[in-house]
């Protein structure tokens, strides 16, 4: 079965640079979530989208923005990167009426 696709899988950036993470949900899934998992920590919710509209917002820094496109894929844009942004970024998707989120493999971001 098709899974959630995230790209790139690994990304290395310098401080103050920008990064764009992409998420392609499971086909027909219309809801996308972004989570950040720091080293040795549990995943923390950042933001979610349904039908191209932001549906919920968590602890996402103002330096980050995200959007969902008409094909339901989503992009997380991160600017003025800081060392503390180094983490594993997960995208998850689900059908709006369902309760279970399915996770992508994650993008490992390293900020030097």
């Amino acid at each position: 079965a098709a899974g959630v696709i995230q790209s790139p899988r690994h990304l290395i950036k310098e401080k103050r640079e920008t990064a764009t993470l992409k998420c392609y949900p499971i086909p027909r899934h219309d809801t996308v979530y972004w989570y950040q998992q720091g080293p040795g920590q549990d995943p923390q919710f950042l933001i979610s989208f349904y039908e191209k509209m932001q549906s919920d917002k968590g602890s996402i820094p103002d330096r980050f923005s995200a959007q969902q496109f008409s094909d339901y894929h989503s992009e997380l844009n991160m600017s003025s990167l800081e060392l503390g942004d180094s983490a594993l970024y997960f995208c998850a998707s689900k059908l709006r009426g369902a309760d279970t989120q399915y996770f992508g493999p994650g993008t490992r971001l390293t900020v030097l």
């Binding site: 809801t31 979530y33 989570y35 920590q41 549990d42 995943p43 923390q44 919710f45 979610s48 349904y50 549906s55 919920d56 968590g58 594993l88 997960f90 998850a92 709006r96 009426g97 309760d99 279970t100 989120q101 399915y102 996770f103 493999p105 994650g106 490992r108």
Partner: protein
């Protein structure tokens, strides 16, 4: 605010034995779901099992089962016939019922299955 607590940072079990991972949560909601996700060394988040709060029957998935005690707000995971491939971090998670159901995770339990 909803919280999820996993009080066992690490656990160890012998291959073929049974182990139980604990999870408690706090919520005032009536409509919610509970999940166990597994994160092996590959760091992929894999759904192990889910429980709907309005269902009294405990969920089971092959060797994995839960003990859901709604009044006590407890949601433990039992792994039977443990296998080496079960070695992973296990996260308990809670979400509100409805469309915008973000997951709130516990801090995880690192399970090591010994040969």
């Amino acid at each position: 605010a909803q919280t999820v607590t996993q009080s066992q940072p690490e656990m160890s079990v012998q291959e073929a034995e049974t182990v139980t991972l604990s999870c408690t949560y706090d919520t005032s909601e009536n409509n919610y779901y509970l999940f166990w996700y597994k994160q092996p060394p590959s760091r992929q988040m894999i759904l192990v099992i889910r429980q709907e709060a309005y269902k009294q029957q405990n969920a089971t998935e092959n060797r994995f089962s839960v003990n859901f005690q709604k009044a006590a707000k407890s949601f433990s995971l039992k792994i039977s016939d443990s296998q080496l491939g079960d070695t992973a971090m296990y996260f308990c998670a809670w979400s509100r019922g409805g469309a915008t159901n973000k997951l709130i995770f516990g801090t995880g339990t690192l399970l090591a299955v010994q040969p």
